[in-house]
């Protein structure tokens, strides 16, 4: 049996992938928290994507999350500003200048996905490549160099460093923050992938690939990478959580991108306007959303662990 018919081979690969996806889904389904997490992620994704529709339905100028404001509102005697509790026109109330909080919250959801997914993808990509190289050449100079670098990054004071970088470069744009976080969040993944690679490279199939004349590059990225990929995906979900939390913290402290409406930024505006205790409808939702979305990604990551580590499976 020779696999000279490429079409046949391709179909075979897809079939295997589909089968393993189905099997993994069955394992994932066993974990209740994984399903809860996935549902929450889908909810927030739809919630964020609904923003244009919501703006269109209510009036694109008045309901713009960043600059829109409702000019029909009077000053609220309780808060002393245009911040009003939830009403028919504004389901979640308004902020100090009469901007709709539901629109801001939807925009915040978009920002959270943007920051979380981009940072997680790039940091895990760096971490996986570093881990593969370090593990495949385990014990060599390049391995110890890469591992020392990741240990140094791991022991840096992450949040204070990001704050100072943001302050020194003027205000960090959202892409600047994404870049800084991608550079600082890869070492955890690299360490895990390295230890996995160290054990994988002793397997017979790696040996046979080497005997067949495969280069180090080919062994790493063709033979080893597919086997460490599930682990990378788990770490990606955890990095999404870290990225969202750090972005929120940096924004809350006042070093975020003022042209973007993120959940942390909403809390920062609430604080600088002195509304933290006066307007609970403004203070509570952004923090709750950050917590729920982060928890959702964390739950999905936890529920994927049994796929990688069969000893954690229930059956």
């Amino acid at each position: 049996m020779y696999y000279d018919d490429k079409k046949k081979k391709k179909k075979g690969t897809i079939g295997i992938v589909a089968k393993s996806l189905k099997e993994n889904w069955l394992i994932f389904k066993e974990e209740k928290i994984g399903i809860i997490g996935l549902a929450l992620i889908i909810f927030f994704l739809i919630f964020g994507l609904l923003l244009p529709a919501y703006e269109h339905a209510m009036g694109p100028e008045e309901y713009n999350p960043l600059v829109g404001m409702d000019l029909d509102l009077n000053r609220n005697p309780v808060t002393g500003t245009f911040s009003h509790p939830p009403s028919k026109a504004h389901p979640l109330g308004t902020d100090f200048k009469g901007s709709d909080l539901l629109a801001q919250l939807m925009n915040g959801s978009q920002m959270a996905f943007l920051v979380g997914i981009v940072v997680a993808l790039s940091s895990v990509a760096i971490g996986t490549v570093v881990g593969l190289v370090s593990g495949y050449y385990g014990g060599s100079l390049i391995d110890s160099l890469l591992m020392r670098i990741s240990e140094i990054i791991l022991s840096l004071p992450l949040l204070p460093l990001v704050i100072v970088v943001a302050a020194v470069l003027g205000r960090l744009s959202i892409w600047g923050l994404v870049f800084v976080l991608a550079i600082l969040l890869w070492p955890n993944t690299a360490k895990i992938i390295r230890s996995q690679t160290l054990s994988l490279r002793e397997r017979p199939y790696v040996e046979s690939a080497r005997v067949a004349g495969a280069s180090g590059f080919r062994i790493m990225f063709r033979h080893l990478a597919p086997n460490v990929l599930p682990l990378s995906i788990v770490y990606m979900t955890l990095n999404v959580t870290s990225a969202i939390l750090i972005e929120a913290s940096v924004s809350f402290l006042g070093f975020g991108d003022p042209t973007k409406v993120s959940w942390g930024m909403m809390l920062q505006w609430c604080k600088t306007q002195g509304h933290l205790f006066k307007a609970l409808w403004w203070m509570l939702p952004p923090g709750g959303c950050i917590g729920l979305l982060c928890m959702a990604f964390y739950f999905v990551g936890t529920a994927m662990m049994p796929i990688i580590n069969p000893s954690l499976r229930k059956r």
Partner: protein
């Protein structure tokens, strides 16, 4: 012998990390747009003093020379003068460092004590409602933005119930009074410490709890636990003396890995509760463009992590002989 060698190696690694941090600081404050001098020297200074300091910091020399001058100044603890306070930066840092250590240290101890105890109990009662509730609560707090939890804690206990102060570390009037005893002063600090301590503990206890739980489940499968149970020992003795002691090692190992995360939580807690520590000072200094103070605060926060890591490593060597190899 091998133990001293291991500790020596860790000390060298940590010193190298500290140098990397200083180097990052050096370049950070020089690659930024604009004149680096204006970042180091207060705009209100007289030109001749500025020129003199320019020479002292070596801004007229090439970058390599500047780097070594900078290193020398840092090692001598000479960070210059704060633009905002108009005092030497080092004095401010020494003032604020103990406050950070008090909050951070007590929260670390409390959260680990709570995490280990809860982890022990929920592993023993595997599959129970207690386990489910503790895990979900722990994970919820772990993933929530801590500043937001802090605000809610402040809202409930300080604003609504008026049980605790809104922030700060001392009641100034009390400390001005000469008749007040040390015990009263300590109680006053404790009174201010309670809310930030609770907030930080809520954030931190989940990680040690979950690690303890997993490690405990592993330990409970061992033969010596079955033996202890078969001997007819009371449940509590088996749980606390036989299982928990052996299960605690991974918790200790995870300690130094979680330090950077805990420190971020500490900085945010200090900010929300106006706790006058290094983290609060760092944010203040950055907001006020007080770069000398911001540099020193960042460096010392980094050093706090490194020293705690070293202490954790040394303790671990005594707990786990396998490390010495």
């Amino acid at each position: 012998m091998s133990m001293t060698r291991y500790i020596g190696r860790r000390v060298i690694e940590i010193v190298i990390t500290a140098f990397v941090l200083i180097t990052i600081l050096f370049f950070l404050f020089r690659v930024m747009p604009g004149d680096p001098v204006s970042m180091m020297l207060s705009p209100q200074m007289r030109p001749e003093i500025k020129a003199q300091l320019r020479v002292q910091y070596g801004f007229d020399k090439p970058l390599v020379v500047q780097y070594f001058l900078y290193m020398k100044n840092v090692l001598k603890g000479n960070f210059g003068e704060s633009f905002y306070y108009r005092e030497p930066v080092m004095g401010i840092v020494w003032d604020k460092l103990p406050n950070t250590l008090l909050l951070f240290g007590s929260a670390t101890i409390l959260s680990y004590a709570l995490g280990i105890t809860l982890g022990k109990i929920i592993a023993w009662k595997r599959g129970s409602k207690t386990e489910y509730a503790a895990t979900v609560a722990g994970l919820a707090f772990y993933n929530m933005p801590i500043f937001w939890i802090g605000i809610i804690v402040l809202y409930i206990f300080a604003y609504k119930l008026d049980l605790f102060p809104m922030g700060g570390m001392i009641t100034p009037e009390l400390w001005m009074n000469a008749d007040v005893t040390t015990i009263q002063k300590a109680l006053d600090i404790l009174y201010h410490l309670t809310l930030p301590l609770i907030t930080l503990t809520l954030l931190l206890f989940a990680s040690s709890m979950l690690i303890m739980r997993n490690s405990m489940l592993e330990t409970l499968r061992q033969d010596y636990i079955t033996t202890a149970e078969a001997k007819g020992l009371p449940e509590k003795v088996v749980r606390n003396r036989h299982a928990a002691r052996n299960a605690m090692l991974p918790v200790a190992t995870s300690f130094s890995l979680s330090l950077a995360f805990s420190l971020a939580g500490g900085v945010l807690t200090e900010r929300v509760f106006s706790w006058p520590g290094l983290g609060w000072e760092l944010v203040n200094a950055t907001v006020n463009y007080d770069y000398p103070l911001a540099q020193a605060a960042l460096l010392f926060l980094g050093i706090v992590i490194l020293v705690m890591m070293l202490v954790a490593d040394i303790i671990l060597v005594f707990l786990d002989p396998r490390i010495r190899y």
